[in-house]
Amino acid sequence: MAMLTMVQSINQALSQEMARDNRVLLLGEDVGRDGGVFRVSEGLQEQFGAERVIDTPLSESGIVGAAIGMAAYGLRPVAEIQFMGFIYAALDQLYTHAARLRTRSRGRFTCPMVVRTPYGGGIKAPELHEESSEALLCHLPGIKVVVPSGPYNAKGLLLAAIRDPDPVIFLEPTRLYRMLREEVPEDDYTVPLGSARIVKEGTDVTVVAWGSMLERVFKTETAHSLEIIDPQTLTPFDWETLLISVKKTGRLIIVHEAPKTVGFGAEIAATVAEEAILYLRAPIMRVTAPDVVLPLPKLIDHYLPTTEQIRTAIDDIMRY
C-alpha cells in the first residue's frame, strides 16, 4: 500500500470519486489551473476538464450558493473555500440555505454538497489563514461537520462525505497536510460519518481531540493510560462511543485549538455532565486556545494548546 500524505489522499479521493460518479464536480478559487493553493486538486482539471474543475471568481458566498443550486439540481458539488478564515462570508448561504433546504422544501430539494476548507493553526501563515471555527458550523442543525486527522481517514471520510445526502463541511487540518504519511489503500473505502474512532484504548482518562490536536495529544508524553478518541465527525457526533469510554475511565479531557468559550468542547463537556456525571471522578477539563483573537505567527505558539498544557491537564485530572 502506498504511503501518502493527506494532500495526496484527498487528491486521490477526489480523483477516484470523479472517475466513478460524473455528478461530482469541483469549484472554488484557484482549484483548477493552479490545482489549489495547497495542490489538493492538482492534476484534476487536466484529467476532468475545466467544466468539472471550475475556477470561480473570488466570491465565497457565490461559490457556496452555486454549490447549493448544483446540489439541488442533482449534482454532487465539492466546493473549496481557500482557507477557513474566508468561510465567514459564506455562512449566510450555509445557515440560511444549505442547512435548511431539505426542511424548507419538505424533501423536494436536498443539498448533497461538500465544502472543503483548510483548517487550523500552526503553519505560520498570514491572518485568517489559521482559523478553527468548527463550533460555528456545529450549532445550526442541518449541516454535518467532519474533521479528518490523517491521510487514511481523510480519504475514507471524504468519500463518505461526497456520497452523503446532506451538506457536509470538511475541515482539513492544514498543519497535517504534509506532516503525516500513512498507508492509504488505492481501493474505494469509506469511513462512515457519525462514528468516532478509539485511536488508543486506555483506562485512566478519556481524551477527545480532533484534527491536528489529535497529533498533539499523541505527542504528549505521560505515564497515565489514555483512551484517545477521535470523533472524526463533530455533527452528528458519536455520543455512544464517547459515553461508554467516559463511563469506563471516569475522567474526561477535551483538547481543541479553537477558543474555549462555546467551542465544541463545551458541547462534549455539557453532554457528559448531563448524561454521565455519576460516573465522573473528576472535573471535566478543556485544553483549548484562550478567548482572544487568533494572533499572527509570532505569538501563535502561545495561543495553540501545547503538549505541555495537555500533560498538565492529565496530571491535574489524575489527582482526583
Binding site: G65, I68, P77, T96, H97, R104, R106, G107, R108
Partner: protein, 351 residues
Amino acid sequence: MPDQICASLDVHSLSILAPDGTVDDALMPPLTETDIQRLYELMVLTRTFDQRAIALQREGRLGTYPPSLGQEAAQVGSAFVLQANDWIFPSFREMGVQLTLGYPINQILQYWAGDERGQQSPPQLNIFPVCVSVGSHLPHAVGTAMAARYRQDPVAVAAWFGDGATSKGDFHEAFNMAGVFKLPLVFICQNNQWAISVPVKGQTASSTLAQKALSYGFEGVRVDGNDVFAVYRATRDALNKARTGDGPTFIECLTYRVADHTTSDDAGRYRSADEVATWSARDPLLRLELHMEGRGIWSKEYAAETLQRATSDIDAAIEVLETTEAPDPDDMFAYCLSQPGQRQSAQRKAV
C-alpha cells in the same frame, strides 16, 4: 488613450401596450388571442388570490402576507414564457409567478399559513421555496444553471427579486458568476420602487437598475412592468438567448407596489397617497382589458366569468387548506437531515 472613451454602453427600455390599450404593432409579440386571454385570466387569478389572502390574514387564518397588487403583469408576463422543466427561483412576493406556472393554490396559502408543506414543489415543477432572505437565492439560480449546462439539459433558469435585492452582496456575486460562465439564466427584477419604506432612490444612485447588468458583461433591459406584452416579449427574448447559449439577461420590470409591504406594514407612514394614486391609475390589468376590449376579446360577461372561475379555484384551494390535517411535529426531524443523528433520534422521541 490618452483621454478617450473606452466603453460606450447603452441601456434599452421597452414598452408595447400603452395605457389606452393600443399596442406598438412592430413590437407586439405574436400571441394568439387564446394566449392573451390566458394572460388576462392569470392576472385576474393573481389579483383575486391576493385579495382573498389579505382577507384570510385579517381573519387570522394566514400569517403575515406580502401583497402583489399592481405587479400582476410583471409576474404573469414573465412566468408565462417558461416551460415545465425550467428552474424557477422566486422571491417572496411572486404569487403571480407561482400561479402562472400552476403551483397548487392551496400550497401557496399553506405556506403563508406557516406550514412548510406549502413549499414542497410538485414533482412536475422545479420551483424553489420562496426566499425570504432577500437576494440570497440568486446564487442558487447560478449553480442550477451551471448544473443544467454541465448536464447538457435543455433547461433555462429564471430568478425573481425586488429592487431592494439589488443592494445585496449575493446579487452581485450571482450576477458576476452568471456573466463569467455565460449561463442560461434570466434575472427578473420586480422594481416596485419600494423596499418596505426605502424608495429605490435610497437603494441605489444608478438611474436605472437595468444598467447594473453592464458591470457583468451582459445585457440589461428596462421594461414597463405594467405592460404585460413588453414583459412577455423581453422575457421571451431573454429565454431564447439563454436556450441558445447566448448567456444571461437582466430584465428590470418597472412597476409599483400598490399595497402595503405586508399585512404588518402601514405604507401611509412613509409615502404619499398621491404617488399611490398615480400608480394605481397605471393598473396593468385595466390596460390589458382596454386592449382586449378593442380587439373584441373582452366583455363584462367574460370578465365576470373569469373572476368567477378564479374565485371558485381559490375557494376550492381554501377548502383543501382548511381540511388539511395539522403538520406532524415529527416532520421537524424527518426532514432536517436524511437520517437523524443519535441526538436527534432521542429528541425526536421526546416531541
